[in-house]
């Protein structure tokens, strides 16, 4: 079943086109990541999907039905974790979760159980009687998540939930999302952190300027670009003849030596045994070297290849 189906969505703010014929399909059970730099249209698309924002053109369906502000049956099965922490400072941790859960679940006994499960899930047990102002940034984000997931929705939308969070809390959050997915929730996750998206998502949609640039698994996306691994070798000097010959080795796209930091960078267009071939060549030329590093292409490389810009530009 397709949980979210967005077709040809256009959203304009005056002359600015925030979403430009944007398309998105989210199949049941997946963790779909929307990856793009700030201002690429990730949050705007989420707000349109949630029927919060007016849009100029296109259709949005959730659970196979048109998504409208009064689509209460659909809304009952959606959980949202906003980019900005959306809790009430005057309510304690457990009260905040109970309040937002109560907008979805009427039965008090069921709600008590769900609130307890949400508190346990995000690990806020010892802080349940604390007010949000007493919580650290990471704990506050966890409360924000608990408020969005307590009613056990089938579809969960996380809009940059880890902005400003320390690495440990970030890992906890990502592990929690994986667990929710294992329990059956379909997840849409927006971020401009490519590592997070790559680590978490089963499918990734790369966005820029309101458009879908690419859609697939991390491997599929990397395979779309003409770039394989990059090998970096530290060496004191390199004969100019070698710099001319290395590009002639199999699969080498480019070779560059930087005298200032004494590094040779060799880029490949995929292929196998690239490191072995390069080291064999250097030995055959009696070229001495120090440390060797290899790096696989990243989603940033994919974005760079497609747009000519870095993800975090």
């Amino acid at each position: 079943m397709v949980m979210i189906n967005v077709q040809d969505l256009v959203k304009r703010y005056g002359d600015l086109v925030a979403l430009d014929h944007f398309n998105l399909q989210v199949p049941e059970g997946e963790i779909v990541g929307l990856l793009g730099p700030n201002g690429s249209g990730k949050t705007t698309s989420i707000n349109c999907i949630l029927a919060l924002l007016k849009y100029d053109k296109g259709t949005v369906e959730v659970f196979g039905k048109p998504m409208t502000p009064d689509a209460y049956d659909s809304k009952r099965n959606i959980g949202i974790v906003m980019q900005n922490v959306a809790v009430f400072n005057e309510l304690r941790v457990d009260e905040n979760i109970d309040y937002f859960c109560g907008l979805y679940v009427k039965d008090p006994a069921t709600r008590r159980r769900l609130v307890q499960e949400a508190i346990d899930f995000v690990g806020l047990g010892e802080f349940r009687k604390c007010y949000p102002k007493k919580l650290s940034g990471g704990l506050l984000r966890r409360l924000n998540i608990a408020c969005g997931i307590a009613h056990k929705p089938k579809l969960l939308i996380f809009d940059e939930p880890t902005v400003g969070v320390d690495p440990q809390s970030r890992n906890n959050i990502l592990e929690g999302i994986r667990e929710l997915n294992r329990q059956g929730a379909t997840v849409v996750y927006t971020s401009h952190y490519m590592e997070e998206v790559e680590q978490l998502c089963t499918r990734i949609v790369i966005m820029d300027k309101g458009k879908t640039l690419a859609d697939g698994t991390a491997e599929e996306l990397k395979a779309m670009i003409d770039r394989g691994e990059t090998i970096t070798i530290e060496m004191y000097a390199l004969d100019p003849v070698d710099l001319e010959r290395i590009p002639q080795l199999p699969h080498v796209v480019r070779a560059h030596y930087s005298e200032s930091d004494g590094r040779l960078l060799v880029s490949y267009d995929n292929g196998e045994h690239n490191l072995l071939n390069l080291l064999d060549y250097l030995k055959s030329r009696n070229t001495s070297f120090n440390r060797v590093f290899t790096a696989q292409p990243t989603l940033n490389d994919v974005f760079l290849e497609m747009t000519g810009r870095e993800l975090r530009d």
Partner: protein
């Protein structure tokens, strides 16, 4: 669901310490300030003390029998005693004035003169007495010089003075100008309910706060949420106004008459108008929360000023020069409702005020809901 949203809204609002300060403690502090600043005015008038004055005991004074009799009559002990005179020579009188033992020195010479060291209520009364005496003597002298035969009739008329104005009381209440300040203060406290209304609208609109966005994506009808929130805001503000009235009545001893049911009805109407006004500002004006708060404070203070909070006569100035303003200003309507309850035995004017308050509230609520029911936003 309604009770769930209502009870949590109540908790949210009542724990907002900043708003509780402005809507409850601030009016109480202001009431205390008013009491100490203006409270002595009534007591001064009620506990009137005869004015101490010195009369220079010279030959001219002793010769002026009429004037001497007038002063002696005004100094006779009893509840109508106006003056407390000391006969002294010029030096002694000067010393008494210098040390503040008397308010003024009356000197009889070719003319009757008054010497004072400072201006004030007592000095003004002394001046009025002397002016009245001189005026009467001049009038009598003038009439006698033209018509000597009228002397006996004139003496009779002076002894039997008539006043052609009559005081009529609309109720049994004792008029008290200080009450005007407290009525306007209660009106201001009712209008401060607008802060709760404003906070509610911020928390319910997706383009105003993340909490509003989260509530907007929940499967709850907006009208439900708005009604629960508004009821919670009304409950808190009504309770606060009751606390203020209790403080005024039982701690400061301000009398609100015996019509407690009508007093409560006025508070209900005032708080409804206040919450509606906050809803109106929160939805109709599209700007940041801080600007909205500024507009709210400014407009409620202006309305309270026009209702006579800072200057009691302002209410009359508005009623005379811009009567429409008095009918659309919730603060003026609340304060006038209290005033009419206290002063008049009939309730016609009171119910006109209450009716206008509910009408204005209905208009503001209607406009607010048209904006609040908006289901999708142009931008967030």
């Amino acid at each position: 669901m309604f009770m769930h949203v209502f009870s949590y809204r109540l908790k949210c609002l009542i724990r907002d310490k900043e708003l509780v300060f402005w809507t409850l403690l601030f009016p109480i502090v202001l009431a205390t300030f008013f009491y100490f600043a203006f409270g002595h005015l009534t007591t001064e008038l009620e506990g009137f003390e005869p004015i101490k004055a010195a009369v220079v005991d010279n030959e001219a004074y002793r010769r002026n029998t009429q004037f001497r009799q007038v002063l002696e009559s005004l100094s006779e002990e009893g509840k109508n005693q106006l003056l407390d005179l000391t006969l002294a020579d010029e030096d002694e009188a000067g010393r008494l004035l210098e040390e503040g033992s008397v308010a003024g020195i009356i000197t009889v010479g070719d003319e009757i003169g008054l010497t004072v060291k400072q201006s004030g209520l007592n000095q003004s009364i002394l001046k009025s007495i002397l002016e009245e005496y001189v005026h009467t003597v001049n009038t009598v002298s003038s009439i006698i010089s033209k018509n000597p035969g009228a002397v006996w009739q004139l003496i009779g008329d002076i002894q039997d003075r008539k006043t052609y104005t009559q005081q009529i009381s609309f109720s049994d209440a004792v008029p008290d100008t200080m009450l005007g300040h407290f009525y306007a203060l209660i009106a201001m406290a009712c209008l401060y309910s607008a802060f709760w209304g404003l906070r509610n609208t911020i928390d319910v609109q997706a383009d105003q706060s993340p909490q509003g966005a989260r509530r907007s994506v929940a499967p709850t009808h907006k009208l439900y949420v708005v009604l629960s929130d508004s009821l919670a805001a009304f409950a808190i503000s009504f309770l606060e106004v009751l606390v203020l009235i209790a403080y005024l009545a039982f701690v400061l001893g301000i009398s609100f008459g015996s019509q407690i049911g009508y007093v409560l009805l006025t508070c209900v109407a005032g708080c409804v108008a206040g919450v509606s006004f906050g809803n109106f500002i929160g939805t109709f004006i599209r700007t940041s929360e801080s600007v909205k708060t500024g507009i709210l404070i400014g407009s409620s203070m202006l309305m309270s000023f026009l209702a006579g909070l800072m200057w009691v006569d302002m209410k009359e100035v508005v009623a005379r020069n811009a009567p429409v303003l008095a009918y659309i200003n919730p603060a003026a309507l609340i304060s006038d409702a209290f005033y009419s309850l206290y002063v008049f035995d009939t309730h016609r004017r009171f119910f006109i005020n209450i009716g206008m308050l509910f009408l204005i509230s209905a208009v503001m609520c209607g406009i607010s809901f048209v904006h609040l029911r908006r289901e999708r936003y142009a931008s967030l």
